[in-house]
C-alpha cells in the first residue's frame, strides 16, 4: 500500500459536500472505468461535491451545470487547469486560452476541420483503415488496440501533419509514454522529446511548406501580418498531438468491445453500410454512451455557483459520461438506443472550446466501422486472452482488447 498525503479540505467546503473520490483509481476487476463515475450517482453524492484527492477539486454532476461551466469562461477558465495541478503548464492553443484571445488559434484551425474539410479526407481515411485491417483480417485474431485503435489516429495525424509513414513507430512510442507513463522523470523527458520533434517539424515546414496542417499553422499571420509567436505554434502542435490520439483510440476500443459482445448491434450497422444517415445516428448514440473524457476548469474569482461557494483557483472536473446519462435530459439514459431521436450529448464539449476535431473523430469511427464490417462481419472477445486493464483519469479506457473471428 502507498500512503498518500492529502491536503485538508479548504475551509470554504461544507462537510456535506466532501466526498473521497479519486478519478484515476479503478478498482481491480472493473472492466468499464466509466463505472467509477456512475457508482457515485448510485451512492447519491451531492450534485456538486468536492474531493481532496489529486490536489483537491470540485465535480459537477448535473448536465445543466456541466454545460454552464463549458459555456461560462468568466467563471470557469481553461487557463492552467491540470488536475492534479502542474504549474506552470504549457498554454496549449487554443484549448488553454479563454475567449476572446482563444479566437486567434481557433479561427486558424477551424477551416481545417469543418465538415467540408473532413469530407475531403474520406478517401485517405478509408485507405488507411482498410490497409490496417487487411494486415490481420485473414489471421482471425488481433489485439484491437495495438493493431488498430492506436495506429489509426496516429497514422492520420502523420498524414495531416505532412510527416512520412516511416515515423509511425516513433510517434506511437511518444504517444504511448505521454498517455500511460506515471513516472515523473520519464514524463518530463517525454514532453521535452515531443516539443523537440514539433520544433524540428515546424522549422522544416517553414523552410519548405506543403499543403498540410503543420504548414498552414506555421505560415499563418496574426492580425498585424506577423507570424505567430513560436511558443504558441509549438503549443498548438502539441495540443493537436494530445487531443486527437488517445481520445479516438479509447472511443474505438469501447465501441469495438460493445460490438464484439452485441450481435444485434453488429447487424444494425451491417444492415446500414450504405445508409450513411442511419449509420451516423447509431454512431452518435455510441459517442453518447462512450464518453471517454472528463474536462478541467479553474475558477477565475471567488463566487457563488448554484448556492455553493467557489474560491479563485479551485479546480473543477466536468465528467462527460455523467452529463450524457442525466435522466432529466435523456430518455432511458443507461440504455443504448441506436435510433435515439434526441441526443444532445456533450462528448465533444459545448461552448467556445467545442472539439474542433469532432467531425474528423466521428468520420474516423464511421470509416473504421464500415471498412471493418465489410471484411470482418462477425467477431467476438477472445476467451483465451485476459481482458485489458482499465484506467481512469481525464481520458478513460483499457489497455488491450483481444478479438477473434473465423480465419479466412
Amino acid at each position: 500500500m502507498t500512503l498518500h498525503f492529502q491536503p485538508p479540505a479548504p475551509d470554504h467546503v461544507p462537510p456535506e459536500r466532501m466526498v473521497d473520490f479519486d478519478f484515476f483509481a479503478v478498482p481491480p476487476g472493473m472492466a468499464d472505468p466509466t463505472e467509477i463515475w456512475h457508482d457515485l450517482v448510485r451512492q447519491g453524492v451531492p450534485s456538486i461535491f468536492y474531493t481532496p484527492r489529486n490536489g483537491g477539486h470540485w465535480v459537477l454532476m448535473d448536465y445543466a451545470d456541466i454545460v454552464e461551466a463549458y459555456r461560462d469562461h468568466t467563471v470557469f477558465s481553461t487557463y492552467q487547469t491540470p488536475v492534479p495541478p502542474i504549474e506552470p503548464f504549457p498554454v496549449v492553443q487554443p484549448q488553454g486560452v479563454d475567449p476572446p484571445e482563444h479566437n486567434v488559434f481557433r479561427r486558424l484551425l477551424a477551416p481545417l476541420f469543418t465538415p467540408i474539410a473532413v469530407r475531403g479526407m474520406v478517401d485517405e481515411l478509408q485507405r488507411r483503415a482498410a490497409g490496417l485491417i487487411d494486415r490481420f483480417a485473414a489471421r482471425g485474431q488481433c489485439d484491437f488496440i495495438a493493431d488498430f485503435a492506436a495506429r489509426y489516429p496516429t497514422g492520420t495525424f502523420l498524414h495531416l501533419f505532412g510527416l512520412p509513414e516511416e515515423r509511425l513507430d516513433e510517434f506511437l512510442a511518444l504517444a504511448s509514454t505521454f498517455f500511460r507513463s506515471t513516472a515523473p522523470a520519464e514524463r518530463a523527458d517525454n514532453i521535452t522529446q515531443i516539443y523537440a520533434v514539433l520544433d524540428a517539424l515546424f522549422r522544416e515546414k517553414q523552410a519548405s511548406p506543403g499543403t498540410d496542417i503543420a504548414s498552414t499553422i506555421v505560415l499563418a499571420r496574426d492580425a498585424n501580418g506577423q507570424p505567430h509567436d513560436w511558443t504558441d505554434i509549438l503549443n498548438c502542435g502539441f495540443l493537436l498531438f494530445v487531443a486527437g490520439l488517445d481520445t479516438v483510440t479509447n472511443t474505438l476500443a469501447y465501441i469495438w468491445r460493445y460490438l464484439a459482445t452485441t450481435p444485434d448491434a453488429r447487424r444494425y450497422f451491417r444492415d446500414r453500410l450504405d445508409d450513411p444517415d442511419a449509420f451516423l445516428r447509431g454512431i452518435e448514440e455510441l459517442m453518447r454512451i462512450n464518453a471517454v473524457s472528463s474536462l478541467f476548469r479553474r475558477v477565475t474569482h471567488d463566487c457563488e455557483f448554484r448556492g455553493v461557494q467557489l474560491r479563485r483557483n479551485d479546480r473543477v472536473v466536468l465528467p462527460n459520461t455523467i452529463a450524457n446519462r442525466d435522466q432529466r435530459v435523456f430518455e432511458n439514459p443507461q440504455a443504448i438506443d441506436l435510433d435515439r431521436a434526441v441526443n444532445v450529448h456533450v462528448t465533444f464539449g459545448v461552448g467556445p472550446h467545442r472539439c474542433i476535431g469532432s467531425h474528423l473523430a466521428k468520420r474516423e469511427v464511421m470509416v473504421s466501422m464500415q471498412e471493418w464490417l465489410r471484411r470482418i462481419p462477425d467477431f467476438e472477445l477472445d476467451p483465451a486472452q485476459p481482458p485489458g486493464a482499465a484506467f481512469g483519469g481525464s481520458v478513460m479506457g483499457f489497455d488491450s482488447l483481444w478479438l477473434r473471428w473465423p480465419p479466412r
Binding site: P111, P115, A117, H345, V346, H359
Partner: protein, 70 residues
C-alpha cells in the same frame, strides 16, 4: 414556417446538417450553421424540428415566416 439560427450560440456541431441537409449546411471557414432554405416546405417540418431539438447549443429556433403562412 421558418427556421433561424443564432450564430452567437452556434458552435458548429453540425448536428443540424446531419439530420436535415436539405435545410442546413455548415460554412467552410468556421464550420458554423448556414440555413440554405429558411422557409422550408411542410414535408420537412418533422426533420427540421428534430434538428432544432438536437442542437447542443440551443442555437436553432422555429419562427413564423414573414408571410405569416405557418
Amino acid at each position: 414556417m421558418k427556421v433561424v439560427v443564432d450564430l452567437a450560440r452556434c458552435q458548429g456541431h453540425a448536428r443540424c446538417e446531419d439530420l436535415c441537409p436539405e435545410v442546413f449546411a455548415t460554412d467552410a471557414v468556421e464550420g458554423k450553421c448556414v440555413i440554405a432554405q429558411p422557409e422550408f416546405p411542410p414535408e420537412l417540418e418533422a426533420r427540421v424540428r428534430l434538428a432544432v431539438r438536437n442542437c447542443p447549443e440551443g442555437a436553432l429556433r422555429i419562427a413564423k415566416s414573414a408571410t405569416g403562412a405557418a
